[in-house]
């Protein structure tokens, strides 16, 4: 069952179940770098790979720091772009 404290949550990263309050807590501690937030909270590291939460997260950082959204650095877009089974990768690349 849902605890009373778990009610009325605003979810920012739904893959990793991270709330807006949690994010703001970290930002208020001075962690305003997307890369660090990602490493500390796993925000944006779930199945959607940040496609949903990154714009929301960047807005939060921009609001807290007073910097324009365009100046908030994003994290590196590494391959693979989506989840892929290890067995598939282990199968090797078909070079024909």
């Amino acid at each position: 069952m849902c605890q009373e404290k778990d009610k009325n949550l605003t979810i920012l990263c739904r893959c990793e179940d991270i709330t807006l309050d949690e994010i703001r807590e970290y930002i208020n501690q001075g962690i305003t770098d997307l890369e660090q937030l990602k490493r500390l909270l796993r925000v944006g590291m779930g199945p959607c790979q940040g496609r949903t939460c990154t714009p929301l997260l960047v807005n939060e950082i921009a609001r807290a720091t007073g910097r324009p959204v365009k100046d908030i650095p994003l994290t590196v877009f590494r391959q693979p772009t989506t989840a892929v089974k290890l067995g598939v990768l282990a199968g090797g690349i078909n070079h024909e």
């Binding site: 009325n8 929301l56 199968g91």
Partner: protein, 358 residues
């Protein structure tokens, strides 16, 4: 390693048009899409399009998708890979694709990225309650699978998608309690907005959602009016009974392949987020890499088809393919694009595009 003249990622309106136009000039094309069908978002679009005859006005997206997909499938110069996911673009220009549990490496001479966009969402308490949907999901449920998302919907966002999906919900027999819009104006074309208003759906501009309520599922939404600084006005709260809250608050380009390829990017709010710089050929800062459709800036399907055509023509022409009508064909597409983006409706797009030319 698979060698090919042109690889296109994304089989929506832009990718299909790119494939057809490039192959028409003689180029060999591989078209990659992660779905098991071609057509992208077009397959959900049961309404008639606007514009001129050349832009397929009065045709429905779903019919356009079928026609383009059939044409592509029947074209010997186009190899179609469906249920195939582009996993990454690498420094040496190699594209890695997964299909049916196998990975293949493709090295194209030209690369057209037409990956489209992803829906944005909103932050409000209980935004994870079952019953909170993106408009794209609702459109898929209703128009593709014939499944009602619920009985009574609050639509958040009065842009084209929000208003059109509202109308399609009404057609499916779902009640639409209201459409709310943060901006002071309805963003959708008036002909669509007028239809839903005539059907009795109120549109509240300068309104936002404060929270969803319900135990285990959405039962109602609390909305409020916004002041000139987009802050909720105390005392203006209204409860709206609804079991579905449908979010139609814009799209953002799906650009990860472009970042990986090292394209110069710029944040342009008018185009939905980060977009690649590009020249008038739709070629990015990475030579031989072209973009078309929503990935280069959120617009709509007619513009995506035109951009696809342009990218396809230019990519093939850069490989040396030509035809007697090449210059005219290219100019024709450019004229049509300019027409689509003219007038007050295209103002935002024009302002956005002015910021990202190479």
């Amino acid at each position: 390693m698979r060698q090919i003249e042109i690889a296109i990622v994304g089989g929506g309106p832009a990718g299909l048009a790119a494939a057809l136009n490039a192959s028409k000039l003689g180029a060999q094309v591989i078209l990659i899409d992660r779905n098991d069908y071609l057509g992208g978002q077009l397959i959900k679009q049961t309404h008639r399009f606007f514009g001129s005859k050349q832009q397929r006005a009065s045709e429905r997206g779903i019919d356009i998708a079928l026609e383009l997909a059939n044409e592509v499938m029947a074209n010997e110069k186009i190899e179609v890979l469906t249920e195939a996911t582009a996993l990454g673009h690498y420094e040496d220009g190699v594209l890695l694709v997964e299909q049916a549990g196998k990975i293949m490496a493709i090295k194209p001479e030209r690369f057209i990225v037409a990956t489209g966009g992803a829906e944005k969402t909103l932050l409000f308490p209980n935004n994870d309650l079952p019953g909170v949907y993106g408009a794209g999901a609702v459109q898929t449920l209703v128009n593709v699978f014939g499944v009602k998302p619920g009985k009574r919907v609050l639509m958040v966002g009065a842009g084209n998608i929000g208003v059109i999906v509202s109308y399609q919900l009404l057609q499916a027999g779902v009640e639409v309690a209201a459409i709310i819009e943060g901006a002071p104006r309805i963003g959708a074309y008036w002909v669509h907005a007028a239809k839903v208003v005539r059907a009795g759906v109120p549109i509240y501009t300068r309104h936002t959602i404060l929270r969803a309520e319900g135990e285990g599922e959405v039962k109602r939404a609390v909305i409020a009016q916004l002041d000139d600084n987009w802050q909720p006005i105390p005392g203006s709260e209204k409860e709206i009974e609804a079991d579905v809250i449908c979010l139609s608050v814009g799209l953002t380009p799906l650009t990860e392949l472009l970042w990986q390829a090292g394209c110069q990017m710029i944040f342009v709010p008018e185009l939905g987020g980060n977009v690649p710089l590009r020249n008038e050929q739709l070629e990015t800062s990475v030579a031989g890499l072209y973009v078309a459709g929503d990935v280069s800036g959120i617009e709509e399907a007619s513009a995506a088809m035109m951009e696809g055509a342009l990218a396809g023509i230019n990519a093939a022409a850069s490989l040396g393919y030509t035809s007697d009508t090449l210059a005219d064909d290219r100019q024709n597409v450019l004229d049509q694009l300019a027409g689509l983006r003219s007038g007050p409706v295209g103002e935002k797009i024009r302002k956005g595009l002015a910021q990202c030319s190479l």
